[in-house]
């Protein structure tokens, strides 16, 4: 069973909640916010392995390439360019699709694996389980690819928690796709609500089971107001509390420090675990 924690807006509390859920249920953890991974500050895993994730990229044979430039015209990602008679690759733009190799009349192109980032793994005493963190190479366009490669490693039989990326783009979709249950974290603010509704639309379109958690709520009344016209209500509301903020700053897992959060998450998620 896979639980994905997403939000739309950044800073809503995805990582905070994902870490807490993993702690409550002692679940395996996947940090898929690959271009700003932060879960390790809370889970404090003892990293024991680092696996490089690669994708194939073209390499040009100097002997065979006559600089015709067909590949540079055919590449739809504008990853290839030619100066005089030499073709160059702008690697961060390459999707590894193989088209350049197919179109090359000289058979001058071969493919070689190149790094897009790493997966670091280690055991966390706090969640009593493994933690896997995706580190995308800074500036890379291949975030979604790295996410998909990490998702392939998840054992669906075990209970796993995914900390997803912010936003509502294909990277978020890739983190929602494997989920049996989605936890939508919403900050009840005009920004937070706006972005969460877009994420909710994606989750609904994908036919996923989901729960909404309102985080950093100024008051119960304000949350009620936001959800007034919504068929789906927040299953749990966590208030904007300086104690939580402080614990967060110190790298603490909220569910470990505050019984009400432990209990709240347990109450809303346990029935879902039984269902699947």
């Amino acid at each position: 069973m896979i639980i994905s924690v997403v939000s739309g807006k950044g800073g809503a509390g995805k990582t905070t909640l994902a870490a807490s859920i993993a702690q409550v249920f002692e679940a395996e953890f996947y940090d898929l916010d690959v271009d700003a991974p932060n879960a390790e500050y809370f889970l404090k895993p003892d990293f024991s392995s680092k696996v490089q994730i690669t994708q194939p990229v073209p390499v040009f044979s100097e002997e065979l390439c006559d600089g015709c430039g067909i590949c540079t015209k055919e590449c739809r990602f504008h990853a290839l360019y030619r100066i005089l008679k030499t073709v160059y690759l702008s690697e961060p733009l390459c999707h590894g699709c193989g088209l350049c190799k197919m179109v090359c009349p000289q058979q001058a192109i071969s493919y070689q694996n190149s790094s897009v980032g790493d997966i670091r793994s280690g055991y966390s005493q706090r969640t009593k389980n493994m933690v896997h963190v995706g580190d995308l190479m800074i500036g890379s366009t291949r975030g979604t690819y790295l996410i998909s490669e990490m998702v392939k490693k998840i054992d669906p039989v075990k209970l796993s928690v995914i900390d997803g990326p912010p936003g509502n783009s294909c990277a978020a979709v890739a983190a929602i796709k494997p989920a049996d249950l989605v936890i939508l974290v919403v900050e009840p603010t005009p920004f937070g609500f706006h972005d969460m509704q877009q994420t909710e639309q994606i989750v609904q379109q994908m036919g996923k089971r989901y729960l909404i958690v309102a985080n950093k709520a100024m008051s119960d009344a304000s949350v009620k107001e936001y959800f007034a016209n919504k068929p789906k209500q927040a299953a749990l509301t966590i208030s904007l509390d300086d104690r939580y903020h402080k614990a967060n700053l110190q790298g603490e897992i909220l569910s470990q420090q505050f019984a009400e959060i432990h209990r709240g998450l347990h109450q809303i998620i346990s029935p879902e675990l039984i269902k699947s």
């Binding site: 807006k9 800073g11 809503a12 500050y41 800074i138 783009s169 005009p190 877009q198 950093k216």
Partner: protein
């Protein structure tokens, strides 16, 4: 010459949009760009009148002409993204994982695959009392390509030039991937809004590394500060390390999210008006 200022953070929720809107509200004349195209929030805080809507098309994607297709399956092997499948009746199906590389179209012996346009969203030009706002709505789940950001930024430059507006202020996306790069290239200054937290620090360091690669000067605004002098100090030291300069500090204050509930920015709060005015002076 128009000066371009990009406001970024690395971490989401650090306060980019609140700060950007506050700065924009205090400027005499500005072209504002919301480059966080898949969670666009800047327009929520700025009063504007929409003037035009333009459809945005992302990558062309593959489409099968079933009259031509013989179901040979050559495309299945060519696709590196597992985006093509064949159902029990032999019909070739292309799913939403298609990245638009056109390898399938190239290998198809029947020329039965065409690359077709797909709408990715809309972008808008609006007028404000003190200038223009350009923002976009990406269709949820679309590839958040830098292409759209590049498009709206070039539109902003054109407007600034035509109307003789001295500043373009860009509200950037979170993260340090290609979208962040699209919001950094060619700007004159980056203002990094850094949340006083371990995550804020870590994401700022990734961002600063990226900014440094482009040799763009950057300033740092500390946000939600006051709980951890230790983290704050680490942020200041990190700024030094990456050639940034801390030019302002906004405390963690419940009044700020409270004001945001009624769509008020820092520029509308007596307590922070001067802070924003000072910030504006430093970056312009």
């Amino acid at each position: 010459m128009t000066r371009q200022i990009s406001i970024l953070s690395g971490k989401g929720g650090a306060g980019k949009t609140s700060v950007t809107a506050s700065i924009i509200k205090m400027m005499d004349s500005v072209v504002a760009v919301d480059a966080d195209v898949n969670a666009s929030n800047l327009p929520i805080l700025l009063p504007y009148t929409q003037q035009s809507t333009t459809a945005y098309f992302g990558m062309d994607i593959a489409q099968v002409d079933h009259d031509q297709c013989t179901g040979c399956g050559a495309c299945l092997t060519a696709c590196q993204f597992d985006a093509i499948s064949q159902n029990e009746e032999g019909r070739i199906l292309i799913d939403s994982d298609c990245e638009g590389c056109a390898a399938c179209a190239f290998v198809c012996p029947e020329n039965a695959i065409n690359m077709v346009k797909r709408k990715g969203g809309d972008w808008y030009v609006s007028s404000m009392d003190n200038g223009y706002l350009i923002h976009a709505d990406l269709i949820p789940g679309e590839d958040n390509s830098g292409k759209l950001i590049t498009k709206i930024r070039s539109e902003a430059s054109a407007i600034a030039k035509e109307k003789d507006i001295a500043y373009i202020v860009i509200d950037g996306p979170p993260g340090t991937s290609c979208q962040a790069i699209s919001s950094i290239t060619g700007v004159d200054l980056v203002l990094a809004v850094v949340e006083e937290s371990l995550s804020g620090l870590s994401d700022y360091r990734r961002l600063a590394e990226l900014i440094q690669k482009f040799s763009i000067p950057h300033f740092v605004l500390l946000n939600k500060a006051g709980f951890s002098p230790e983290v704050e100090n680490k942020i200041i030291l990190s700024a030094d390390e990456f050639g940034g300069k801390v030019i302002g500090r906004i405390p963690f204050d419940h009044n700020i999210p409270q004001a945001l509930q009624s769509l008020k920015s820092l520029a509308d709060m007596d307590k922070y008006k001067d802070t924003i005015a000072e910030l504006l002076k430093q970056i312009t």
